[in-house]
């Protein structure tokens, strides 16, 4: 067997790590990559097989063109078999175009393994400056509504004395809307003061706050008719948008009694918990995602999602918090089982607004099985401030989504102002959020800054994240698929899933950020 293919087989397992290392490589410089037909030696999906055969027969450009894709520049260097893996030279930008045209292909950089050499790094703890313990002072932050001045309880207050070092103090407001922070007497001002309400208000960000014993923060109530980033970039859906499309939200559970949400089914896949408990027992996050996709309300009394007629399923993978474990994580077992169950329920799109850590074989296998059964997993790139795309979004068979924002789509002084960062798009008001992860695995972008959506207790909240951008893309994808009945009703196999990904990515419009930030751009 060819040596580069043997390397590819090994590097397919470590490709996420390798790709993380090379994601900031010069995008204009061609790199040698291996095109794998899924995880097998030979193609199984007919569209992938035809594409690879055409590549061998007529060359790469002709193959992409005959598959209906845009012109992709790459050089074919070697091939395992006429319908097997190919070694090509291609730039990062062109590779993304290829992924959009042939979503069934796995693109793995060619890597060369070196002997593992242990290195040592200096890791010295620096002792605090000698001297007497400085005196502390109390600062009371009072959080009230801008309209009427009523106290806001349960708001998280985060006061940074040094934002870059994340030094500071924090707490949660009482029923009186107050929280007492303990700060050194030497501190005269705060670099940043964040206030995150539970719901019903926009968060607040104040810069350069001069310290006094009492600080007042006024929060802006949410107006449900406000045009936020989802409504600006994706538009509120018509009541029939997404009809016939089934969507699974694999998350903290969806608020079953919310007036804007209709949940048609689901399951809790957390080991040891009741499978029938697929409501929001794991937190608010899943309800917020669900509302972005398919909320059916009408402003100003409710909100409207992007594809309100899509059928929503709730798969709860985050456990119920307990006193011993107040923030429990979702296990890969729960997630893989939820993916299986969502596919069995006939879902077309699986929303995964979660991730992190190393690639995991169980989750990858479940995602691959979902693709082979005609379903598409759309996953959040992660919120680690321009870090490499997190797993599972980094997995080739996921559609990875970055978070897009726009100046002016949140009130002045809201926390969302802190998410503005370059590069800016062709329209200078557009930006990829400062928290969004980026890299060559990004397939597309979606609105994810200052998003109004549904949360439990019949309430509404603002959230930001690639977690919000992902359901926005799922909503757009559902709307699109509902209009392509042949594809919607096609046999549920890998070719159907590839066709759906192709449809979504080829609908996307670039906004001028560059491929690492936006992939193919914003789906239409």
């Amino acid at each position: 067997m060819k040596t580069w293919y043997k390397q590819a087989q090994r590097s397919a397992r470590v490709s996420q790590v390798v790709r993380s290392m090379v994601h900031v490589a010069d995008v204009a410089k061609p790199q040698r990559v291996i095109l794998l037909p899924g995880r097998a030696l030979r193609a199984t999906a007919s569209s992938t097989r035809s594409f690879l055969q055409e590549m061998s027969a007529s060359g790469p450009s002709a193959a992409v063109r005959s598959a209906g894709g845009p012109g992709v520049r790459m050089k074919l260097l070697d091939s395992v078999h006429e319908d097997g893996a190919k070694l090509v030279e291609i730039t990062a930008d062109e590779a993304q175009k290829l992924r959009a045209a042939q979503p069934g292909l796995v693109v793995v950089p060619e890597v060369f393994f070196q002997p593992a050499v242990q290195t040592y790094q200096v890791s010295t703890l620096v002792k605090a400056a000698a001297g007497a313990r400085a005196a502390m002072k109390k600062v009371v932050v009072k959080v009230v509504s801008q309209t009427g001045g009523t106290p806001v309880a349960g708001a998280q207050v985060v006061a940074f004395t040094n934002f870059a070092a994340r030094q500071g103090a924090g707490g949660v407001t009482s029923k009186a809307g107050t929280v007492s922070l303990s700060l050194p007497s030497s501190v005269k001002s705060l670099q940043r003061l964040y206030v995150y309400p539970e719901n019903s208000f926009w968060g607040s960000l104040q810069m350069k706050v001069t310290l006094s014993p009492n600080i007042a923060v006024k929060l802006t109530p949410i107006d449900l008719s406000f045009k936020d980033s989802v409504r600006f970039f994706a538009g509120a859906g018509g009541m029939t948008d997404g009809q016939g499309v089934k969507v699974a939200v694999i998350d903290t559970g969806i608020a079953l009694g919310h007036p804007d949400l209709v949940v048609s089914g689901g399951e809790c896949t957390v080991p040891g918990e009741n499978p029938g408990d697929f409501g929001p027992l794991g937190g608010d996050h899943g309800s917020h995602c669900a509302g972005i996709i398919a909320a059916r309300g009408t402003p100003p009394t409710g909100i409207r999602g992007i594809a309100p007629a899509a059928t929503l399923f709730s798969f709860r993978v985050f456990p119920k918090p307990t006193r011993q474990n107040p923030e429990p994580g979702a296990s890969n077992f729960s997630i893989a089982k939820a993916i299986d169950r969502a596919v069995a329920a006939g879902c077309d799109f699986l929303n995964l607004s979660l991730g992190g850590g190393d690639p995991d074989a169980a989750t990858e296998a479940a995602i691959q099985d979902a693709r082979n059964a005609g379903a598409v997993v759309i996953a959040a790139a992660g919120n680690e401030d321009r870090s490499p795309v997190s797993f599972p979004a980094s997995f080739d068979l996921c559609v990875a989504v970055s978070a897009l924002g726009r100046k002016g789509l949140f009130p002045k002084g809201s926390v969302d102002e802190g998410d503005i960062a370059g590069p800016f798009g062709k329209d200078k008001n557009n930006f990829i959020a400062s928290f969004s992860n980026i890299g060559r695995e990004i397939d597309c972008t979606g609105p994810g800054v200052g998003v109004i959506s549904t949360v439990p207790e019949k309430a509404y909240a603002i959230m930001s994240g690639t977690s919000m951008a992902t359901p926005a893309v799922v909503g757009l994808a559902a709307k699109l698929l509902a209009r392509h009945l042949t594809l919607l009703k096609a046999n549920r196999d890998a070719a159907r899933a590839d066709g759906i990904v192709k449809l979504v990515l080829q609908s996307a419009k670039k906004l001028g950020f560059g491929a690492e930030f936006e992939g193919q751009g914003l789906p239409a």
């Binding site: 985060v158 006061a159 994340r166 030497s186 964040y194 080991p271 794991g282």
Partner: protein, 82 residues
């Protein structure tokens, strides 16, 4: 003892003899069992030995993911030096 996910990737229903091999591992506990997967608490080496000849099974350690959040967090108390 660590928890592992066993996922069957072969065609058709998972083979019962492989499942019996896992259940027969001393000290192993099957915590959850779904169509294609099992969540098992067992010594890793014995688990891998039991499924050594079964190429259609994936063994992956259980890992967890936190609820994503973009809220800024304090990592350190404020410095007392100004």
């Amino acid at each position: 003892m660590r928890r592992f996910i066993l996922r069957y990737r072969g065609e058709g229903a998972r083979p019962q003899d492989a499942v019996e091999k896992i259940r027969a591992i001393g000290g192993a506990a099957v915590l959850e069992d779904s169509d294609r997967m099992m969540l098992v608490e067992a010594p890793e080496q014995e688990l891998r030995q039991a499924l050594g000849s079964e190429t259609d099974w994936i063994i992956a350690p259980e890992v967890t993911y936190e609820v994503p959040d973009t809220r800024k967090k304090v990592r350190k108390p404020p410095s007392k030096r100004k």
